[in-house]
Amino acid sequence: MGNRMMRRHTPATIFMHWFNAACWIFLLATGIGLIKNDDLQPIGGWYADLMRSIFGGGANLLLAHEICGVIWAAGFLIFGLVGIRKYVIPFVREIATFSPSRDLMWLVTKGIQMTLGHKALATIARRFGFAARIPDQGFYNTGQKLFAVPSLLGGVVIAVTGVIMMLSTSVITDPTIVQWSILIHFVTVGLVFAGLLIHIYMASIAAGERPAFISMFTGTVPEDYAEHHHKLWYDEVTAASGKEASG
């Protein structure tokens, strides 16, 4: 087996990933700053004051958050509409496919290996009578899928509740739906952010994941990395290219 590079991401998906990341950083920073209420503010009043100082008042902060939010939602809307066949449907199919044996066992084995190490995994596996082997994974592993599903659904919820809040001062007569939207917006962002901590750790710090991080810039991963981390995807791609070569 050689160590050639194989394509994992297209320039479009790489762009959308970093576009999403940049928008998230800005929207998270401004959004938390918009909560100026000691009972509701999760970090502290000083943060809301700091963001207002940077942006020159709460009204500007709100405007900046709204403009960036619209750009973020519109960017994904356009990407989703243009790339529905090429990207959206395959992505949704990929992240929404769970197999109990493969994915549950991945959670158990990978969870033990990441926290206690391979030795502990072997010991525990022997003790409880399961294979110490981490199950083969597809294009995304179980952990990636478990983050992708709430990210996608959460993104939709965040965008919809954001639009409701923006429409509040123009078309909404009964603001009860706006009050609930603010709460749902906050909770959804908070939960996705919690998952984001793991995503960032895995991508930038975790051992052995460097090729995945680099592929978010270059679009390609080494073949041996693909075979080790995403065996089912690797097999699928090599089988398909083999067919192409012979046919």
């Binding site: 209420n37 809301a48 391979h118 082997r133 001062t169 906050f186 051992a207």
Partner: protein, 257 residues
């Protein structure tokens, strides 16, 4: 204590319920039809007592408006800080550019001093006629009152009319005993009604956010941060961690790891 605390001192016994103050306010502030920034409340005479020829049977008129409270529940209900207590003059103001019109503050005011503007769709209420004050004039309701029931001024300036009235008379505040917001509206002598019947109410999403959502999000973020720390600790402490050699399948992985 704030340097300036604007307040209204009201002699409700002088009020004749002519409602000139409410009209002047509506004209000055272009308050839309069906909404009011100020009011005159009625204490109805007790019909039973009246029939028995008892005491304290008179009706009473009580002028009011936003009370620019010391402990404003509306400010605590506002998520964005659009409703705030102005540090410069102690009045409660609404930043119209920051208000997203969620209306959370409306039930949080026990006095019903706030409404959602039907066209602007943001919250509006008494601001002591800030445009008039900027020109050095008194609020419209104060100037208009023919019996001078309403007096306006800085309570911390002993030479202001309001402070002089406060010093010379005993005053009461109209408040709900269960949600006393410590209003900056003082009534000379006695007034009726004295015990405000309405309690401050926070909308359910605001209460849920403060009591449930905030700890929930901190819990979720904290748990995942802990998970990251554990994985990081394992990565640092077990740098040479590799699959056990006896399993040929795992040995293959080790060479790739």
């Amino acid at each position: 204590m704030m340097k300036t605390q604007l307040a209204m001192v009201i002699d409700s016994s002088k009020c004749i319920d002519c409602k000139a103050c409410t009209v002047a306010c509506k004209v000055e502030n272009q308050v839309p039809e069906g909404h009011w920034r100020n009011w005159v409340k009625h204490a109805e005479p007790d019909a039973d007592r009246l029939a028995r020829g008892g005491k304290d049977t008179a009706g009473h008129f009580q002028p009011g408006a936003c009370m620019h409270c010391e402990e404003p529940t509306c400010v605590r209900a506002c998520p964005t800080g659009a409703t705030y207590k102005d540090e410069a003059d102690g009045s409660i103001r609404v930043d119209s550019a920051l208000c997203i019109g969620c209306g959370s503050c409306i039930p949080a005011c026990p006095y019903g001093a706030r409404y959602r503007h039907p066209e602007k769709k943001i919250v509006d209420k008494c601001d002591y006629c800030s445009a008039r004050r900027a020109r050095g004039e008194l609020p419209a309701c104060v100037v208009t009152c023919p019996t001078k029931a309403r007096t306006f001024g800085n309570l911390h300036d002993p030479k202001s009319e309001a402070a002089i009235l406060m010093a010379a008379n005993s005053t009461v505040r109209v408040a709900n005993p269960e949600s006393d917001t410590r209003p900056n509206m003082y009534y000379i002598g006695a007034t009726a009604p004295l015990n405000w019947p309405v309690k401050a109410q926070f909308p359910a999403p605001i209460s849920i956010w403060a009591k449930l959502a905030k700890p929930l999000i901190w819990g979720a973020v904290g748990l995942n941060a802990l998970g990251v720390l554990v994985m990081l600790g394992k990565q640092v402490l077990m740098a040479d961690d590799a699959p056990e050699a006896e399993d040929p399948e795992n040995q293959k992985e080790a060479t790739h790891g």
